[in-house]
Amino acid sequence: MPEIRSPVDGANHEPPRIGVYVCHCGTNIAGTVDVKAVTEYAAKLPGVVVSREYKYMCSDPGQALIQQDISEHNVNRVVVASCSPLLHEPTFRRVLSRAGINSFFLQMVNIREHVSWVHLDKQAATEKTKDLVRAAVRRVALHKPLQKRRVPINPNVLVVGGGIAGIHAALTLADAGKQVYLVEREPTIGGHMAKFDKTFPTLDCAACILTPKMTSVGSHPHITLWTYSEIVKVEGYVGNYKVQVKRKPRYIHEDLCIGCQECITACVYKEGKTPDQFNLGLSKRKPVYLPFPQAVPQKVVIDPETCIQFKSGKCKKTCVEACGERQAIDFTQTEKFEEIEVGTIILATGFKTFDASRHPYYGYGRYPNVYTSLEVERLINAAGPTGGEVVLRDGTRPKSVGIIHCVGSRDANTNRWCSKVCCMYSLKLAHLIKERTGAEVYNFYIDMRTPGKGYEEFYDRLLDEGVHFVRGRVAEVSDWAVHPSEEGKLVIRAEDTLAAFVRRIPVDMVVLSVGLEPQADAQEVRRLFNISCSTEGWFLERHPKLAPVSTFTEGVFIAGACQGPKDIPDSVAQAGAAAAEALALIDAQFVELEPYTAFVSEEECSGCKSCIPLCPYQAISFVEDKKKAAINEVLCKGCGTCVAACPSGSIQQNFFEDDEIFEEIEGVLAYA
């Protein structure tokens, strides 16, 4: 049972002596709000003993000012009018604590995000500020002393997604001795990185740097790896999450399969007939397959959609024969559900690439030799469908290749954002294609974006290598030849905005540098974990600068491209940061929860039970012998829905009591 201590007994009965502190925030607030007028106005409000303004209230001297007034002027209630409480409420609460008064005797007034930054009329902004300050002064007088609840934290961590970010986060935590559950929905970990041949700008081999990490995950004593699995349910709160994982049947006993792949050779299908997802359909696989040679875990999968045994039940089952005594194949396997308990969660669910067929004028899906960049990654990869040969669909080598940047990025018709990695991977592909085929390579770009260590130098190198760069957004790709030199070629038509004329460049192969998009099910996933998405659909961080891997749900962190387009170094850095944030929570051994829970005043409760079905957390029960409702503080998450519903007004919410809110309402409305 977690230790709970709220609210504090022995409320402060001293009459309120309120201190009001109005922050200039440099010119952020003072530029639009007449801070001096607000301060003078606040000084005259009932209960206010000190009213001050300061340039930066959150700075050390600003904080000292409040602390000093608490000790010297016996200030026992504090109103800080500054930025959003979501930014500095913890800062000012600490000031109150340090000065020896209860930290909940604070009320913040958001006059930056909600006033100075959104209004232009100085007089109206000042009036609005006065109203908000007046409401806060009236409200804070009613505040009661409260204490945060302390609950122990489960040291186990769930990492969702087995791409490079998830792998790195899982290994970091496991190396620190924490038990990690790594859940990946594909049959293998590795993510997008496993599909690449080389990485920019160093051109080191992706497999060489990734596969050792994948193997470590597979063999780490502190990592429980569940591939081909998905999270279906998440309950609980920071430090104490209960998670249900669905483990899809791979029709192979993972503990019995040794990865010998004899079943694949023995399969009644002599040749693969199903497009291989891992190779983006550029090759075929059999119904029983290993996603790629270095897959972790090294366990085959049977695809029931194409396996004859599943379709007709009349297969010779040569695979079972080949497996022999190991008996790893089991056609009767069904999906399983596992329940785990973790304290923190890291989401590293990655991205998907833009569907190039949404740009019909580039001919993807219509002209066979128009490829996406990810398909070309597979062609270049030595373990790919062509063994590393860059060849056209007919098996011949291209003599000229056009790479079109920003397909599904920086485009008002599809995605407005810059996908950040495309310029660099296009340069990498240009280099590798030229190296493998000796073809003339043309890059069509809007702007070259190469911020990163060694990135600009890589661009310079490509210029020296003789790769052509045309600045201009490509209008269309067609096979319509208007000149004999264009016969049988794909013609890229683009306005060269540096030379100021329209070019027609005939090429054998077109590569579309597709942008990055949120995963198709990002919305469902974020609902599952109770976090938010930006308008574009990327997972939303708590603060873009100061809390880039935290979310608004405590204990749930995000890492990698699920938060926004990112290259490998940034994804790994974020994964490390998310792991460190999780470790910081775990090593503190307990977590403090806001005391905003609801409580029942027994004398007033009529026992009508209307609150009971309203609680989504089953925190309210009916005490039969007393005929009263009772709220379990551990289960209560502090939404206040039951408080609003109670017909007798006998339920109250800490820090959001009816009287406090009524004071605030009447405070903002009371004319000066």
Binding site: L86, V118, I661
Partner: protein
């Protein structure tokens, strides 16, 4: 039940600036309003935001209290259906809102004066546009006058 005296200020149509009280949930709409700030969007300065943890905390009495004390409009902002930080608090809000609207209607408070909107943390622009739209609509309606004065009661009404 709380008894509070009506302290409605005198308002003249000529200098009328609507006063709108807003209740924003901590996780979606309040964040969207913060984002509107960090994005430096500009909107009408007539709204006073009160933060609650969930729109489900908004007791209909809060809305009535606001109207009773001089609000010309009340704006409740919560998470989109299915997105509530507390699973389903916003559904409770919606349920209450429909009932409340009937009460308000019977009191002669126009429909546009009380509004419930689902605004996610990312939808800063909806905070801006909703506030601007509401301010304009309430401005067009004029000040809310809850207290009937003698002149306004028609002879017919008194007759029966």
């Amino acid at each position: 039940m709380r008894n509070r005296e009506l302290t409605r200020p005198e308002k003249s149509q000529a200098t009328f600036e609507p006063r709108i009280v807003a209740f924003f949930c901590n996780w979606c709409t309040y964040l969207a309003a913060d984002l509107a700030g960090t994005s430096r969007m500009k909107y009408a300065p007539n709204v006073r935001v009160i933060r609650v943890m969930c729109s489900g905390r908004v007791d209909p009495q809060f809305v009535l209290d606001a109207f009773a004390h001089g609000a010309d409009g009340v704006f409740i902002g919560g998470c989109h259906p299915g997105d509530c930080h507390y699973q389903e608090g916003n559904y409770k809000t919606l349920r209450r809102f429909h009932l409340l609207k009937r009460v308000l209607q019977q009191m002669g408070i126009e429909d546009e004066r009380c509004r419930l909107e689902w605004i996610s943390a990312a939808e800063a622009d909806r905070v801006r546009s909703t506030i601007n739209d509401m301010v304009e609509k309430v401005r067009a309606l004029g000040p809310l006058d809850l207290i009937p004065t003698e002149e306004k009661v028609s002879a017919e009404e008194v007759a029966v």
